[in-house]
């Protein structure tokens, strides 16, 4: 069992790291035991041990020493618990892990709402509240960063571009196996004094609080590494492994969105890691980046942090845009409207996302001269974002709307993100932001963009590709129950939060004035109802995965490549490299073909001109109709 080996190696590494630190401290005349340095060095070696144990040694590192590499590929269920390089397995690993984390952090949200049902500390203490709220925040941020890209992206991008796998399959497996240590560290914060700074970890508070902060920083730095490697892998995969004929002008829009998001993952995540490392240096080495009393500047961290963390919201939402547009086109039975404009919009968003960060600092006390420029750049982002709406609405226009569960989630995305986008203008505008910053208005706004936007898109994607990934159909009826239940409860929960924020409800508080009791009780009850919708989702997905009816290759009669192979696809994806000859969205265009697939690996289809007359997409679609 690679998992057992990983834990054993991690334990050996951890003990070694702890031993080295204690020995080093004794030799330099310090007190032998100090929790924070010991944990930090211990963790670094435990992480190395964990990675070597899970498969890096057997399948990779031996190569560096000239030893034969063991290409042990597990079969059946075991491959999901091993260092598996198949992108489809990695995708499912990511998806299941992060949906489980989403449900877990959702339970933490329920605990938060229990506490906020009434003014006063009624359910947990102030310290516990801060920990629960902080953990909810950071886990959900991780879910938002990794679930679509790591889960659906890994599974579908190679299929959508006609490739056999990602460019660096072992790096891909490594990206995933960096995640379990992150989860263990975050849980570990509860046993080391807890994390009470929220996911933003502003110093000097994070310089002086309990040791849980150190575990948090190590966890997020590790997660950042995973995110950087993932971004690199997607960029190289999309740039180099597209099937013949799959030009940039024929890429499915979801692939474009993953490409744009990966540009940010690869180039911005380092800043978050740097900020968190500076906190570690302040704590462990007595440096003073952020301690004002020793000449440091707390605002420095806020700039470095948001230089990553604002682009990061586009890591979250760009794949949501791509996924929603993908689904809207297939289920409107129409070409994606303005297909050539949308990638331009994505790239414009990527560029602009790097020059808007200081709108998080309008009330921070930074120089007044920065307010105007950052307000301008922030509000300009609405222009490329508007192209996404043009594309969505133009795609629906005069279409044949097939209101399946994925389509309902795709449509809801447009509505929800509209509210998220419009309320964002109040926060980009300096005068209104001065009042609304750090209130529940902000909480409502980012839950509209990330939950209403990205998470609704995620569910669209999960239902859309469920037949492809599992080879089984989900229950359409229970899918629709989940949709309407979640959609209605979601709006009932978050609309009143705008009101609460405007009316004086600040963020990250467990207690609040009695006058805000009614609105909070209302929000809490709605939130509990919303929580219930995920029981329906989980039951439907689990039951369908085990007992659902077998899915045909192309139940949605979609044109893109992943639907032209069996459900689930064979290990090598395509029997022979497909040849792309047209748009992925040519619905309603007579005789249009996206790609030509040959079943015989012996023939290279590039030369076979005759096969192109046969419309591969629709022909395969007819099998299922």
């Amino acid at each position: 069992m690679p998992l057992v080996q990983a834990f054993v190696f991690a334990a050996i590494g951890g003990v070694f790291g702890v031993g080295v630190t204690v020995a080093g401290r004794v030799l330099t005349g310090r007190e032998a035991w100090s929790l924070e340095p010991v944990v930090t060095v211990g963790y670094i070696f435990a992480l190395l041990g964990w990675l070597l144990g899970i498969g890096v040694w057997d399948q990779w590192a031996r190569e560096w020493l000239g030893l034969p590499v063991e290409h042990r590929q597990h079969r059946g269920w075991a491959r999901y618990f091993a260092f598996t390089t198949d992108h489809k397995v990695v995708g499912v690993q990511y998806l299941v892990t992060f949906v489980a984390l989403f449900l877990l952090a959702g339970l933490l949200a329920m605990l938060i709402r229990i506490e906020l049902m009434a003014p006063g500390m009624t359910f947990m203490g102030l310290g516990t509240y801060n920990q629960v709220m902080s953990l909810h925040g950071i886990v959900m941020v991780a879910v938002a960063v990794a679930t679509i890209i790591g889960g659906l992206g890994n599974y579908t991008v190679p299929l959508l571009i006609g490739a056999e796998d990602v460019a660096f399959p072992r790096l891909n497996a490594l990206s995933y196996w960096l995640v379990p240590p992150v989860a263990i560290l975050l849980i570990g914060t509860f046993f080391t004094g807890g994390l009470d700074t929220g996911w933003t970890a502003y110093p000097p508070l994070s310089d002086v609080n309990a040791a849980g902060q150190v575990l948090f920083n190590l966890a997020v730095i590790t997660f950042g590494l995973s995110s950087i490697l993932g971004g690199l892998n997607f960029l190289v995969t999309i740039a180099t492994l597209r099937a013949p004929g799959m030009g940039w002008g024929r890429l499915p829009i979801f692939v474009w969105s993953i490409f744009a998001a990966s540009l940010i993952s690869l180039t911005a995540t380092q800043f978050l890691a740097a900020g968190l490392m500076m906190i570690l240096f302040d704590r462990l080495l007595g440096m003073a980046f952020f301690r004002a009393s020793a000449g440091g500047d707390p605002l420095l961290y806020q700039h470095v942090f948001w230089f990553y963390s604002h682009p990061a919201v586009y890591i979250m939402i760009l794949p949501g845009f791509g996924l929603a547009l993908e689904v809207l086109s297939h289920f409107s039975r129409k070409p994606l409207f303005g297909y050539r404009l949308v990638p331009g919009g994505f790239i414009a968003i990527v560029v602009l996302s790097f020059v808007v960060w200081a709108h998080h600092l309008f009330t921070s006390g930074m120089s007044d001269a920065l307010h105007g420029p950052f307000m301008v750049t922030t509000e300009l982002i609405s222009i490329p974002t508007g192209l996404v709406f043009l594309s969505a609405l133009g795609t629906l226009w005069l279409g044949r709307l097939w209101l399946t569960t994925p389509m309902l989630f795709g449509l809801a995305f447009v509505f929800n993100f509209l509210i998220g986008g419009l309320t964002g203008i109040y926060l980009a505008d300096v005068p209104t932001d001065i009042h609304l910053q750090d209130t529940h208005f902000v909480v409502a706004h980012f839950h509209y963009t990330i939950v209403g936007g990205e998470i609704f898109a995620l569910f669209a994607g999960i239902y859309y590709w469920f037949p492809k990934m599992t080879g089984r159909m989900f229950s359409e009826r229970w899918g629709k129950v989940h949709f309407w239940w979640m959609f209605l409860a979601y709006h009932t929960t978050f609309i009143p939060m705008f009101w609460a924020g405007i009316h004086g409800m600040n963020r990250r508080v467990g207690d609040y004035p009695a006058e805000l009791g009614d609105v909070n009780l209302f929000i809490s009850v709605a939130a509990f109802v919303m929580g219930g919708s995920f029981v329906v989702f989980t039951a439907n997905v689990v039951w369908s995965w085990v007992r659902g009816p077998r899915a045909v290759a192309n139940p949605w009669r979609a044109h893109t490549l992943e639907w032209q192979v069996a459900s689930p696809p064979p290990i090598e994806n395509f029997p022979a490299t497909p040849v792309v000859v047209g748009s992925p969205y040519a619905y309603g265009v007579p005789g249009a073909v996206h790609a030509v697939l040959t079943t015989a690996p012996a023939h290279t289809p590039a030369a076979s001109g005759g096969a192109q007359a046969e419309p591969a997409g629709p022909a395969l679609a007819a099998d299922s109709a």
Binding site: D196, N209, I434, N506, P513
Partner: protein
């Protein structure tokens, strides 16, 4: 096809206008903002209302197209046919870009830059208050009056007040919701915020007349709040003289304490 498209477009336009009129009526009738008690807060509220009025047609346009499409273009069961392969003609894409850019740039200018300019024009303050945040309480000092308090923040009505805000330990944030004004209290820095209270009142009358911490600062963050009382100038002077005695007594006590230690 074009003819049918035009008919649908007319219906959507009608739906859009109806929704916009209804939406603007709701926005102009019901005020979502709580009572405001400072001149500067009125700038914030005006910007808020303008953004809502400007955002409404955008909201109703998307909703109109979305709702109309779902109701009219939906297919019962699996669609047998595909829809028409419409392309985004340069005219449509161009018009969309021009409209969204124009709106975006207008919003940047008004209420954005104009509101910012209004908030940045400061008069000479009539009263200066030094605010110091520490875990987990606020301390206010009136340097000209030589008064310090951590029980309440008392301000004279219709006087221009400048707050010099700082923190001793971690980042806090100075927020008085009824004034709409907020600025972080950062260790090692002094940040300023200007407020002109326009009416007398107490926290008991308006629960948002309180100085509350808006930046997570650890365990007691939720409880870090100081009552605000806006009074007539005469009452303010009376409060100053009584508080000065208390401050002086407090100072003497501390001096005595320091003396006994040394």
């Amino acid at each position: 096809m074009v003819g049918r498209g035009r008919k649908h477009a007319l219906w959507v336009a009608l739906l859009w206008i109806t929704l916009t009129v209804a939406g603007e009526a709701v926005v102009l009738t019901f005020d979502v903002l709580p009572p405001v008690a400072a001149e500067e807060g009125r700038v914030v509220d005006a910007a808020f209302r303008l953004l809502t009025i400007l955002g409404m047609p955008v909201f109703t346009f998307v909703v109109a197209v979305l709702v109309y499409s779902v109701l009219v273009f939906r297919s019962r069961g699996t669609p047998e046919q595909d829809g028409p392969p419409l392309v985004a003609r340069p005219l449509i894409a161009g018009a969309w870009l021009v409209a969204t850019s124009a709106l975006s740039i207008y919003v940047i200018i008004n209420p954005g830059l104009t509101g910012l300019a209004e908030l940045r024009t400061h008069r000479e303050p009539d009263v200066v208050v030094q605010v110091e945040g520490s875990r987990w309480q606020w301390k206010v000092t009136y340097p000209r009056q030589q008064v310090t308090s951590n029980k309440e923040l008392v301000l004279p009505v219709n006087k221009h007040v400048r707050f010099d805000v700082t923190a001793v330990d971690v980042v806090h944030s100075f927020w008085i919701p009824s004034f709409r004004m907020k600025i972080d209290a950062v260790p090692g820095r002094v940040t300023t915020v200007h407020v002109t209270p326009t009416q007398t009142g107490t926290e008991a009358q308006d629960f948002n007349l309180r100085l509350v911490c808006a930046e997570l600062c650890g365990l007691g963050h939720s409880l870090m709040s100081l009552s605000v009382r806006v009074v007539e100038q005469a009452d303010f002077d009376r409060w100053v003289s009584s508080a000065r005695t208390a401050t002086a007594a407090d100072g003497e006590r501390q001096q005595a304490l320091a003396g006994s230690r040394s």
